[in-house]
Symmetry: C2
Subunit: 364 residues, 2 copies
Amino acid sequence: MTRITADVRFLRGYNQALVMAVGRTARRFERSTVVEATGLTPQAVSKVIARLSAAGLIRPTDVRRPGVGKPAVVYELVPDSRYAIGAHVARRTLRLVLVDLAGTVRHSAVSPLPGDFTPPQLLDALRSGIDAMAGGPDLRGRLTGVGIGMIGPLDHAHGLVRGAHGLRHWHDVPLREIAEKHLGLPVHLDKDVTAGITAEAWRHGATFGDAALIMIESGIGGGFWLGGAAHRGAHTNAGEFGHTVVDLDGPRCVCGRHGCLEIVHQHAADAGDMARAARVVAVGVVNLLQTLDLAHVVLAGADLLRHPDTYLPAVTAAVQADARRANWLSTRVTLSSLGADAIAAGAAMQILDQHYGIPELAPT
Amino acid sequence: MTRITADVRFLRGYNQALVMAVGRTARRFERSTVVEATGLTPQAVSKVIARLSAAGLIRPTDVRRPGVGKPAVVYELVPDSRYAIGAHVARRTLRLVLVDLAGTVRHSAVSPLPGDFTPPQLLDALRSGIDAMAGGPDLRGRLTGVGIGMIGPLDHAHGLVRGAHGLRHWHDVPLREIAEKHLGLPVHLDKDVTAGITAEAWRHGATFGDAALIMIESGIGGGFWLGGAAHRGAHTNAGEFGHTVVDLDGPRCVCGRHGCLEIVHQHAADAGDMARAARVVAVGVVNLLQTLDLAHVVLAGADLLRHPDTYLPAVTAAVQADARRANWLSTRVTLSSLGADAIAAGAAMQILDQHYGIPELAPT
DNA sequence: AAAATTTAGCAACAGCGTTGCGTAATAGGG
DNA sequence: CCCTATTACGCAACGCTGTTGCTAAATTTT
């Protein structure tokens, strides 16, 4: 990882992103709010607000007259000013969402994909879906790009699908490049779980600490948000959390090892013992907490959300039992706030994050 | 986590740190080297070099005449210009090292600590050890501070020892504060494993990607370097890697759960089966790789370094077997380059890193 | 000796957040 | 009704950053 140089352009983008983060979390805000949240001087905030207003990203809506003194101008984010498309590519379905600048899902649609679909088939499905959702001329100008979340292995930096598990026609496909050509929009490619945790982080704003998203849906994966950014690892391969061994003498997994979390969980689920399945996941989650000391664990995925009342209490109980040893620890366990849209919406937010989030100093 | 504002002071510190990182890895360097490594303009590099030279951190040593054109000035880091003390506080010993600006351990000393030592006893041992090692008036002026690495739980942001495992007199001790008073030097407190991974990162320079240090020494812990910085988690408690479950029906661990990596490893080691002990560690390391996708795994700790020829091949083999599934992955497995000094030296480098490393934008 | 090539730095510049200070808008007291 | 205190806000100057344009210096090649 080579670090990139920092110049005044970085300063501008960074502090603008701080203000945008305030606007995204607190729907209405004024200058003093931003000053307190960021530590910038009032004058600096005025300049940033002027720039953002000129770009149409925020606008004054009101004045606050709390008592003595000149009234303060109340600003708000303009959700309609920018949009992004998010795509969740699964084995048999394509889910598309339209997300606005505030992080709200404005439209959502699911369409089937052909069995063992090819890259051209996906591109066509993407195109027609996007046209149906945001084809109008008014929206088109405010579309910032398309985020695609799918299973790995892949290379997000170069936009390559290395070889998606269970899909025959997806080995070393330069999906970002061909999709940008086909769609005429900037495209970002990432693992599904990384997109999912981005959605949670984007919605929670700057107060979102280290966190993980546990996804149970055709396998078990984990997305990580560490140190204020998505963690993808050295080869965009982080998150193969389902293939960590929790039972040395357990059944053989498809990956060749024995007692992976995923296969142990699968056996329990297949036997209809969802309580045990949930406990297995809970063990994995506590393993993560021990290793990474997370502030927030988000549960997601179609298979998990089918039994939320089983998984959530099991994981919460395990986390609390473990936290009791160190009574000053606190970790929140929640269900994904976006439900089935989590991955697609997160992919869209990754596009918005590239434009209006904290700029990166250490590129890919 | 509230983000901190970025101003021009940050720019200066950041780009200076980039140049210092070049100087630390390439012992001799010239302007064009830095230009290529950082992306800064030649003129900007000249300004940074002028500042660093004025501070005595680097100096011109030579000129290079490669052929046609004006000779280039060759600079070098001045190792003697700054020092830091590192302390590794273990249950029965105190290891102190003197590290120079280049990251070289100049002196190393181990002294015994009283059984169940108290905070005042540690402070006295620190003081006399530091006086013996760097008491001279010439060195004193160039001492930037003291780094302390010890077992947790602790709070590095506030410099508190929450309650070191196995030490009776260490509950909620504000060690940083009292040590700074007692020693008259800036003090940084951190977990031993975090200090250890900092040493590796500091020595490898900017090319060091995501990495973990696995430490086996009175328990099993992990230190993490993710995204260009140490990962400590939400409560400085990341790294309790030994207390991740790898055997659901395994023996009961001191932590209350069953089949923790640490207790399974311990049973194998106690039975004299070091091969199995090493294989258990290897399983844990592969679990980490699956989860975090690390570029580098460093093995350290007194108990591990007692059997390097057992552990290193076992872990390497397991990593390679796993990497074969995804043949484009590559992870290096090495022994700690600093041996027994790793923790203490890393603690010292944390002090140097605070002054001459990449400044943080997200505090705590 | 002249030309070509490479390195280095001076000077002017644009842009960032900061500082100093003046102005606008409100409520409350005399 | 006027005056004052209070609060919000911005213009202008400033210090500092990295960048750009251009000149000077040092060396090899022709």
